[in-house]
Symmetry: C2
Subunit: 359 residues, 2 copies
């Protein structure tokens, strides 16, 4: 937590500050620590004020607000999803978020969350896999080698000890970039020419593709008994990655059912198809994996509590750090009810230095 | 609109920049221009993607998100309401907001909105009164002389030509401060010792009190025929200002019924009590005031389209201005899908200047 500050100031973590925070911590350590916060908040699930994200859909994308509160802290994330953005050099997904104090309603932190969302998504996948994947899994297929892929690889190595990575993307350049980015990190990496080839020998299959359409990245015959599927890319209405038959053979685990029913792979199933909430597995209320032949599926869509956890973690890490800027975001009049008086005093001050407020 | 910029940068209007923008424009001119944007967007009501604000209630207050989009632009506001905050020198209400481009989902502007909300609330009240108040009204009672009061006074002078102001607050110091703040602006101001005294001779009665409770700021016998009531303070569940009998005698005009039914004065009435949507009056689809004896009531709670209008106005005013800061809010990798590569390149750069990323 930053030191005592003026009431008008809100600490801001820029993209550059976030990169430096991640790098000075070490990316894998950051993922591991972040995963601990994510897991801790899943354990406190009942405390949270939860709501499915509020989406504003347009022709080419969606803008969403994702709020969550545990009664002491409140967080929300702004995130967009625009697959066509890459054509203009923009990100498909960008995000930023705010952490606030519930007692006063005052923001404590504004942070970039494009990078932080990539990290929390990977950390959450690894937390789920820790509880669901077959024990001793060493090989992961990673299908879809875009912006999320390296973070998934590092989170699974850091939290589950994955050693072998089998990459596939419809764009070979994406696979090559992913392989190159991970090349000095000690993973055994195999670039594959098809999804079928990628899943060979993998105990964990991660799908993280970006097209906004009902796709069949995995077909039923590709999924052997006992694997864990970490389905990351299917995360909005009309966007799925798995063939429906896979879902029917799997034990399905989700974050927050009201949101996943609309956005996840299970939008392909009946609205009452049985699913298990991940927090129940984490708290031990329900069993996760029950046999060596069971197919477990984490139908990840990304939930607001995970962003809450990420902002809470980053806020705690700011303690004693100077790795933030100070934003003059909140009006702080000398007397709280005298907002207009602030304007008058600013005007009076400007009479001594008129250039202050000229257009 | 600011000039062409790097994709990572979002313009930010601080509290200081907002004050200077208001002062360099002139507060009354700012209110008049802002009111034109608010009115224009009410005319385009059908275009908007509308949703009641998303509230997170706690013991001492509420934190709300208020999104709206017209299909080309998207805006949301973060706003809290914590009446006890003034005891610790904080504002009851603080706010900030973001305007975004719907096509890309990228934010165009981050702005303080504590001051801007006070201005847009007053501007909206004046827009409603322009269509509802008796013609030629020169006298307004202003009950509740807190942070919103001076803005209401200026908006009603600027848009309706109000000349006489009758102030009352349970705290005489608030009335005195309001009177003093407005003393050089040419209004005839009368400080009153009761709400009854304040409403004498007033054609418009504005209530803007802050207590979070069902209060009776106005009782039925205080309301004569023909007046326009601008009820600003009753704006969340359990917080009302008017006696129910006044509502039963009034023609009631609201912003967005699904929100006002929960938050406005009409929470005291049956859920099917007839109300008229303000946009229908503004577009001429419905008559506003129909007679000299009719009591009109604008049951204002503040709706997301008004914040949209305020951000749109401020964004337009930034054109050619340097009155904003540049925030490094959005990750902008050299290649859009290579988010992880950004981290690697930052790390490589740091090997030349290691102090960059040490803790």
């Amino acid at each position: 937590m930053p030191a005592e500050q003026n009431l008008n100031i809100v600490p801001f973590i820029s993209v550059e500050n976030m990169m430096d925070l991640v790098l000075s911590t070490g990316t894998e350590t950051f993922l591991k620590e972040l995963a601990a916060y994510v897991e801790e908040d899943f354990r406190r699930w009942d405390l949270f004020d939860k709501v499915a994200r509020i989406a504003s859909h347009s022709r080419d994308g969606v803008i969403e607000l994702m709020p969550a509160s545990d009664g002491a802290l409140y967080a929300f994330k702004y995130v967009n999803g625009h697959p066509k953005n890459t054509k203009s050099g923009r990100q498909t997904v960008t995000a930023f978020g705010v952490l606030s104090d519930v007692d006063s309603g005052y923001p404590l932190l504004l942070s970039e969350m494009t990078i932080l969302t990539a990290l929390r998504t990977a950390a959450t996948s690894a937390v789920a896999a820790k509880h669901l994947a077959p024990k001793g899994a060493k090989t992961m297929a990673l299908i879809g080698n875009g912006a999320q892929s390296e973070f998934q690889a590092l989170a699974f190595r850091s939290l589950l000890g994955i050693e072998n990575l089998r990459l596939y993307d419809i764009d070979p350049a994406a696979t090559e970039r992913c392989r190159r980015n991970l090349s000095h990190l000690g993973l055994n990496i195999t670039a594959c020419r098809s999804a079928e080839e990628a899943v060979e020998g993998a105990q964990i299959i991660t799908t993280a593709t970006a097209d906004k359409q009902n796709a069949t990245i995995l077909s039923d015959n590709m999924i052997g008994p006992g694997v864990h599927i970490n389905a990351v890319g299917g995360d909005c209405p009309g966007k799925t990655e798995l063939h429906r038959d896979i879902l029917l053979r799997s034990s399905i685990f989700v974050e927050y059912p009201p949101q996943t029913r609309v956005e996840g792979e299970i939008q392909q199933l009946a609205p009452d198809h049985p699913v298990t909430e991940l927090w129940k597995v984490i708290t031990g209320q329900t069993t996760g994996r029950e046999s060596d032949t069971q197919i477990t599926l984490f139908d990840s869509v990304g939930f607001a509590t995970e962003d809450f956890s990420a902002l809470r973690y980053v806020y705690d890490k700011l303690n004693g750090s100077t790795r933030f800027e100070k934003l003059d975001l909140l009006a702080d009049p000398d007397e709280p009810r005298d907002l207009f008086g602030m304007l008058l005093r600013r005007q009076a001050a400007a009479q001594n230095s008129p250039e202050m407020i000229t257009a």
